[in-house]
Symmetry: C2
Subunit: 454 residues, 2 copies
Amino acid sequence: MKTSDEKIYLSEKDIPRSWYNVAADLPFELAPPMNPATKKPLDPKDLEPIFPKSLIRQELSRERWIDIPDEIREIYKIWRPSPLKRAVRLEKALKTPARIYYKDESLSPPGSHKANTAIAQVYYNKKEGVNRICTETGAGQWGSALSHACSIFGLKCTVYMVKVSFEQKPHRKSLMHIWGAEVFASPSEHTRVGREILKKHPHTPGSLGIAISEAVEDAATHDDAKYSLGSVLNHVLLHQSVIGLETKKQLKMIGEKPDVLVGCVGGGSNFAGLVFPFVKDKLKGAKIDFVAVEPTACPTMTAGPFCYDYGDTAKLTPLLKMYTLGHSFIPPGIHAGGLRYHGCAPLVSALIDKKIIRPVSVSQTGIFSSAILFAKAEGHLPAPETAHAIHAGIQEALVAREQKKAKCIVINYSGHGHFDLTAYDNYLSGNLKDFHYPKEMIEEALKELKGLGV
Amino acid sequence: MKTSDEKIYLSEKDIPRSWYNVAADLPFELAPPMNPATKKPLDPKDLEPIFPKSLIRQELSRERWIDIPDEIREIYKIWRPSPLKRAVRLEKALKTPARIYYKDESLSPPGSHKANTAIAQVYYNKKEGVNRICTETGAGQWGSALSHACSIFGLKCTVYMVKVSFEQKPHRKSLMHIWGAEVFASPSEHTRVGREILKKHPHTPGSLGIAISEAVEDAATHDDAKYSLGSVLNHVLLHQSVIGLETKKQLKMIGEKPDVLVGCVGGGSNFAGLVFPFVKDKLKGAKIDFVAVEPTACPTMTAGPFCYDYGDTAKLTPLLKMYTLGHSFIPPGIHAGGLRYHGCAPLVSALIDKKIIRPVSVSQTGIFSSAILFAKAEGHLPAPETAHAIHAGIQEALVAREQKKAKCIVINYSGHGHFDLTAYDNYLSGNLKDFHYPKEMIEEALKELKGLGV
């Protein structure tokens, strides 16, 4: 089947039947997660207080394909398979010979790729008798995705939302309420960790690190509750592989082979979702450039070392080998809240270390100017996170113009910007600042890593 | 082709090649628009200061099919054909034997059906050399659709936005800015009418009537500018016929015949867009119930008389024969801003008068409870306007359950609610009031109609 349509749809029977696990195909060993107390490789049992067993098995699995249960595929049908769209008007505006495609993950109910793993995680939690799931959220992308998934499967959902976002970005909080979640401003009075921080710093704006600690404590101290994370971990990246698997089928349908795949990286899950199903092709010799895009304000992949670090500020999580700016690094308050993470998924990090993935960093004003160009040409308004991928994709299309090469560029359109209009207002009124490589801050934060002893 | 998918897609070649004009198929005469000065049928020339000639021709046309230019079909491809979706999870939640479908018009860049006519109107204006288009907007659905269309075709766009919305609902204003429009809080200092009102009432919150007067004055007093309206008029309803034409093809593809078609009515254009292509079938004997849904707070179709009235408060527009609450009627401040219009499209009104369309009115708290049920079952969050149609559709599905009839119900999902979360917050916190049939207000407003002399 071949189509000349600019929106490439698949049928619902084309929703993948298995997730793809890139770990099965890597020609090198992955560094194991370490127990933070013993500094020895983690025992799966260590994770059982906070995760259901089926997700722990997925986290450590080396199986290439893992079946997607029918119940999950049924829910995926709400927005999957997602369309691959050709950005014909953007190509014209750029006068590029490149063909630009974007995989539209913004059509899920919460408006981003996060729904792909939220549905899966809640399903497995429900199957193992969990009644309530706790999580943290910054700007609210992940919190709203998990709330939606809990609403679908009838589980309770508790979200610790970074206080400054809770107060300043009320709309994703409203979404969570609509889907029935309880949302606390973090730090809160509901956990020991929250109360202690409030006692010392009653006016703190909160942080993702604090919110993670509260959600983990809540889950670990209640028998019927578990914890859920929206990125970084292997099982989260696994669930996102539906993005790349569908994209591969769609490109084949129209006779395309990709030259460049682009995604933004916060924890790394949407990027991995698009790219991992193509890694084997590259290992076998296909010339594909995998471009991982981060903000200059939080240059984890382009300025951090590749070493063991904690996933959270409070040092509660296992130690993971990854690119990191140090668990105490606090990035400036840029508008792409989803990209303000000090670390990067171990699987993505390992592939950067092996030069299979190419990281780049881009500035905040640059990504908004590209986002507005995209919104004028293609109509749709990207989330600031997604705008990082669009910006880098546009750069690639301009390089192709210089080189007079008709490259095929695929961008992961990870989410829409309907709840981010304050950020656009700031940009249009000239109030946005660029933050570049804050060297001293990073050096300060990295010092701590040296004492970890792994 | 038959599909068991719950999302029914068409190919881009299925985007209609002609708009359907229901006026060609009506077995009765339509009352003509009247010149407000002479009280005699309008001369098309009277409209030339504010509309381009091609749109005036469409307004008065009795041709059944009017070609859609290729340039417009190219832009429609951004989001058309729009999917028809089966609401399988809502059906389950309602335990109804009915099959519920919704036509998803929320996928356009501005997020509603308004884009269908905005693109067409701007195209014809550009073709006739217009440089700038002026319009009014309440909550901003129409203003953002016109801004997007002007951005696509490179025209300037001036939007007079009702002051209270300008201040309290900033996000659709941000969208307009992103697409390059200039947006004034109305009443403004930019028009004579605005200045006069500000002198008398410096603290007025503004109204749609005032904003229309400002936009019309701006267009009429500048040679390079024209005016544009987002609903009510025949040519606007014509452009919306793509909705029903596609729906018809989609239903046929899956072997369905509709028993009930439901849409919300403010000016009437999204409702007409879905329903009009099915009117001929009903005239020939098909049993289809056309349900037009309005708020009890502005019960134009269910409580107003069918008579001549002005389209705006300032009496600048031609007189139209329609269901109306009187041009001085000011509806309460409900959250479905798009349904707070005193009148109703003459074509829709005539079909109500002939009992071909059945109007119903529903309460504000009812529509939000249905919207949340929908968001939990189907994931997607409807605009408060759209929630009126969903609420009535749900009522029909419950009737079908009582009757044990497997009815086919089709709802027009006219727009998403991503910019309406404050309204949902109000509902969830119990702060929403219901307004029912404000009899005295309506009687007061209707008095003026008696003196019109038509």
